[in-house]
């Protein structure tokens, strides 16, 4: 059984059908990537799964539980969360308070303390900046904080929306290393990326989204060699 199953998902903004009935699945332990151009519907798909955008029709299940109409905060408590596009750290809170917010659903104080230490180990820069207001961090640091904050609840499935956006090449590599690392530690990953090449290199499987439909899908390594994909997304 797939960890996340999306079936005939349809999402509308007013009369505009942004997602026109797509189906895909993410299995336990995989890295799956959703690639596509601007406006293809990647972010809409991601946010509708988490209950942030209402679903018109279709069916989403997590671990066999129907989450199609479940409010977002309850979905989080099932063990999946998302790093939103644009990082969306709480700009007016300190780095430390952002991490505490990440652990909002965790009740065990001892556990929270330990997890924050682990985040600091993974991202030493965050420890240096722990009492700084998050809005003053650089883009890369904010992305690290956003990921650090998301892993505070030990998600079984972590969805990342454009984690490399607006970062320098070195930081992009670093972020992808972290994604790989998280996956090796047992976190299943659903990744949305514009940097298709990087995404396909790190992923097991991929879906190509084009104006609300899935145009192609398959093993990431195969898509990396696909001529159409090369032309459209990998720069020839």
């Amino acid at each position: 059984m797939a960890l996340l199953e999306v079936k005939d998902l349809e999402v509308c903004y007013g009369v505009i059908r942004a997602i026109k009935g797509i189906s895909f699945e993410v299995n336990k332990g995989e890295i799956v990537t959703l690639i596509g151009a601007n406006g293809a519907g990647k972010t809409t798909t991601m946010q509708s799964i988490m209950g942030l955008i209402p679903i018109k029709s279709g069916f989403v299940s997590y671990n066999g539980i129907d989450i199609t109409k479940m409010p977002g905060h309850k979905i989080v408590n099932l063990g999946m969360t998302q790093v939103l596009e644009g990082r969306r750290v709480f700009q007016e809170l300190t780095v430390y308070d952002n991490l505490l917010m990440g652990a909002y659903a965790v009740k065990n104080k001892h556990q929270i303390k330990e997890d924050i230490e682990k985040v600091y180990e993974r991202f030493p820069i965050l420890q240096q900046r722990k009492s700084q207001i998050a809005g003053t961090l650089s883009g890369g640091e904010q992305q690290m904080l956003a990921i650090g904050r998301a892993v505070m609840i030990h998600p079984e499935l972590l969805m990342l929306d454009e984690p490399s956006m607006g970062l320098s090449p070195i930081l992009v590599d670093q972020i992808f290393d972290i994604i790989k690392q998280l996956n090796e530690e047992g976190t299943t990953i659903l990744l949305v990326e514009q940097n298709a090449k990087k995404a396909l290199k790190v992923a097991d499987r991929a879906y190509v989204l084009e104006t609300g439909n899935i145009a192609l899908s398959g093993k990431a390594s195969d898509l990396l060699e696909n001529d159409d994909i090369k032309k459209a997304y990998l720069g020839g």
């Binding site: 969360t81 939103l84 709480f90 007016e92 909002y104 659903a105 609840i153």
Partner: protein
Amino acid sequence: MSIIMDGLSLGAIYALIALGYTMVYGIAKMLNFAHGDIIMVGAYAILTILTVTGNPLLGILVSIVVCTVSGVVIEKFAYKPLRGASPLAVLITAIGVSFFLQSIAQLLFGAKSRPISLPYLGHVTIFGAEISVNTIITLIVGAIIMAMLTLFVKYTRTGRAMQAVSEDRGAAILMGVNVNGIIMITFAIGSALAAFASLFYLMQIPSTSPTLGSMPGIKAFTAAVIGGIGSIPGAMLGGMLLGLVEKICLSIPAISQYTTAIEFSLLILILLVKPIGILGKKRREKV
């Protein structure tokens, strides 16, 4: 000296009410124009208990409970069904709730204003100025409440969640925050603060009428906007500033008649110089 003390204590009243406006605006993104009428609800609660039992302390306690419950009930039945509706619809609903509360009060207690006899606590002389004990209590209790609120928002799990929802609702949901629950708590806190404001207001002007809440409500809303709506320290600062201005203007015979006009002009002036209010923060729309 006594003018400044009076101004600060009136300011504390405005600040307590303004906090309700500003917190609800920050977190639920709506202007709750029925908030002023919660003061009136609190006043009638005190009046009723005083008439029945004669015990002012019991009156205060009941008033806090009644205000808090009305705030939560209003949110649940009037505003929650409109979550996601256009801001204008919510605004009109809030005005409707305001009329509703005033009419209920009229039905139950009549349209005439009724005196409330709270115990008179006397005067003390500080640095040669006579200052009523009521003023001092208002100031001290007001300051304690505001300090507690600040600490609550900064250092508790729920307080942090309130800040998070205020800044980015979507991201807060992804932390597992139940936004509806946080909005309910915000209404409860705001209304409880209004109950205190109601008590302090009655200590200054001991009579109540169905429209009692309108003027202090509007003044406190003005204070919240002056300070920067959505900002908690802003509401406190705005309230204090407006209270001081009001009492100072009232003490100068030449301009005392224009006090209200001066207060609202102050709002216009500050908005001209700083459209987001003194301590207001510019919100980023999208990264």
